[in-house]
């Protein structure tokens, strides 16, 4: 039996790293809120999340042109502005002054596990103050590391982007000989993004043996990173196919830092060290390989390169996953509908259900904020291969529908031509 919702204005905050589909959720909220103007008078947006809330910097989202929302939804980056700010105890008086001044009765907090924690803190304070307010958390993170939801809006699109990058990167790498290419992708604690690059293995049209398709080696933060093991893996791959196209999650820098190396930058208010926008890890692994790999002399000089993909993983326009777009919109719209059923203090979740035909289908649900706040969903062991350098079939089944597209490529069969001359020994 549905509870009765409050009446008043709504506030939406975007928090943490943006995604390619974060504005889909914003558009979803606006679309659904338009059906309840008798209950939700105005939807305000906090400019730069908690920053906008504290400094009373709001915009009136109800005043945006209704015709603009589809384009806004398709635009990456946080349209409202995001923040990496944690509410302090001393901020709470101000938070509730602002809520009261603007008659805020509904809060939509769109973010990751840090913002779930912030939402929870505001909830507890509202109870202590007997301020009536409904708060729902809308999941968003490319990291895909929120508990209780099958996956997070934002992840499917980054999965599509990184799998395309690695498919192309291996084609680029194999264009030369003796290439070891190291790619550093995002993912501090969880390896979901690095793992998603494995999708590139499935789009190679002329490949009968996925084991030789890139990525050849994938290193996840879930598996303790050991330099000797890494070098053995690279050597084995190189000996087998003459090259290696490698993906490492940036989070493995922490494994190396624990042993004395230093790659990390600034820290935010949640204590998270900056790992992106700097490239020490790639350079470090690159120089390890250069120093240690035993190269076949006849193939010429070793070619080692490292790229750190940086922010484009989460911000590239033009390559979202349509499934991800639809789901991000949907969790925003459902947050409004749940709110109108009187729900509060929960996060909207995506639950994968058995579709009749065996295909992919999700429903939405709700879970307690406390189950999400400050928690991180790592990749389960069943999705990591026994060697700790790749993924299993379980992971492919999980990720394929989320990314929507495989990067499809085809190379030459390469029908050999008989040699007619003696071997060539090139003069020095």
């Amino acid at each position: 039996m549905p509870k009765t919702p409050l009446r008043g204005n709504a506030l939406i905050l975007q928090s943490g790293g943006p995604t390619a589909v974060i504005n889909q959720s914003l558009a979803g909220v606006m679309s659904a809120a338009g059906d309840y103007t008798d209950v939700i008078s105005t939807v305000f947006g906090a400019v730069h999340g908690l920053h906008g809330l504290l400094y009373e910097n709001f915009i009136d989202l109800s005043a945006e042109s209704p015709l603009a929302w589809q384009d806004i939804a398709n635009t990456p980056g946080a349209a409202l502005g995001s923040a990496r700010l944690k509410p302090k105890r001393s901020d709470l008086d101000r938070v509730f002054e602002v809520f009261f001044a603007h008659n805020i009765k509904f809060v939509f907090y769109n973010g990751g596990n840090d913002s779930a924690e912030a939402a929870q803190l505001i909830r507890e304070e509202a109870n202590a103050r007997s301020y009536e307010i409904q708060i729902l958390h809308i999941p968003k993170t490319i990291d895909n590391d929120l508990m209780e939801t099958d996956h997070c809006p934002g992840y499917g699109s980054v999965a599509r982007v990184v799998s395309h990058i690695i498919a192309g990167d291996d084609l680029d790498n194999r264009s030369f000989y003796n290439g070891v290419k190291i790619n550093v992708c995002m993912g501090r604690h969880a390896g979901w993004i690095a793992a998603a690059t494995a999708l590139a293995k499935r789009g190679v049209l002329d490949c009968n043996d996925p084991s030789i398709c890139a990525p050849h080696l994938v290193y996840l933060p879930e598996v303790p990173f050991q330099e000797t093991k890494f070098l053995d893996d690279v050597q084995r791959c190189y000996d087998k196919i003459g090259r290696a196209t490698i993906v490492v999650a940036e989070g493995i820098a922490d494994h190396l830092s624990a042993k004395g190396a230093s790659f990390t930058g600034e820290k935010d208010e949640f204590g998270n060290a900056q790992l992106s926008g700097t490239s020490g890890l790639g350079d470090h692994l690159s120089s390890l390989v250069k120093k240690n790999l035993k190269v076949k002399a006849e193939l010429g000089k070793l070619r080692v390169r490292a790229d750190t993909w940086g922010y484009l993983q989460r911000s590239l326009p033009g390559m979202p996953s349509p499934t991800d777009q639809a789901e991000a919109f949907w969790v925003g719209a459902m947050a409004v509908r749940y709110m109108m059923q009187g729900e509060s203090d929960k996060m909207v979740t995506l639950l994968r259900v058995k579709a009749p035909g065996g295909g992919y289908r999700c429903e939405t649900g709700l879970c307690d904020l406390a189950l999400v706040a400050q928690k991180t969903k790592l990749m389960p062991p069943a999705m990591v291969n026994a060697q700790g350098n790749g993924v299993t079939e379980d992971f492919f089944e999980y990720v394929m529908p989320l990314a929507s597209f495989l990067p499809t490529v085809r190379t030459l069969r390469g029908h050999g031509v008989s040699r007619k001359l003696p071997e060539y020994h090139r003069p020095e």
Copy 2:
């Protein structure tokens, strides 16, 4: 009056850095060669360019499945394998032994100004030996720096990719406050790729003032890079809009190296220093900004990040320019047709012509190899703005049809909400 072509087998080589459409040219050659099987008996591919030629490592391209070519054409990376190898005088005996052994009468050299030089060397040697052979060069380079052609196949696709990256990158950067984001793109001597990011200015649906659209500052190798000027530019941009999204071509590292800094890596056989796959330049500029930018205290901590895009610029599947794809195929096909007219010792060019309706149109032409070999087409002064940190309208007119697509994005209009409370001073 057309000359008579020779008769025999053809050899195609891919050379230098691959592109997203290099295999379109290969497919174009194969498509057209299929019309002249009485003249061109078999088309061989040299595996890894000159390497395959010297070591007699050929594949029989005529034996590939005809149905596979469309997928191969759409696949980035050099399907044949590329090389960065320069023929030495001492290699030439071997080159002609191989030509003779396989009855090679037609050579298609697909590459940049380095391979035009290699093609020219082989030509001169053929004349000296009275070995009858026709050689045509098919242009290919993301750098867009070949003389005599309006533009180079490969460039339009990289223009599309980098403009999308920068459109998304600025949305990501503006999601936070006080963000200075530095992006290092490819381009050693010429700034064509860096310049192409300016396309992102034209796809912002809600922007009446392109001067505030990203990229805000673009640094080209054509303009001597000065750190003080750079810092002044960044400060002015930051003072005006509270952030800066910046693009620098990797080639400006040379300007800094000349003053004692060190960013470059290995050198190839053409003497080109490795600039990609390492990120010293971004880190250097990043630390310059961190040390020198005067930040408005009320906006909080400065956030400086640097990304070096690396190889994905030229290898990303799924985001080619359709114009670039069609033209890359076309120059390959036309190379065969010119060959069949008895042409040799030339490069196929793209010539922009006035289309009747004023739209974009190209024709193909031919130019002497000597006009291309070892030469670099820089951006003309008319395409660089007076401040030396951006592009002019002339450049937009030039580049828009090549990329085929603008990255279209839309942000919120942001209707302000009146404040009801006194200013907040956040406790430390």
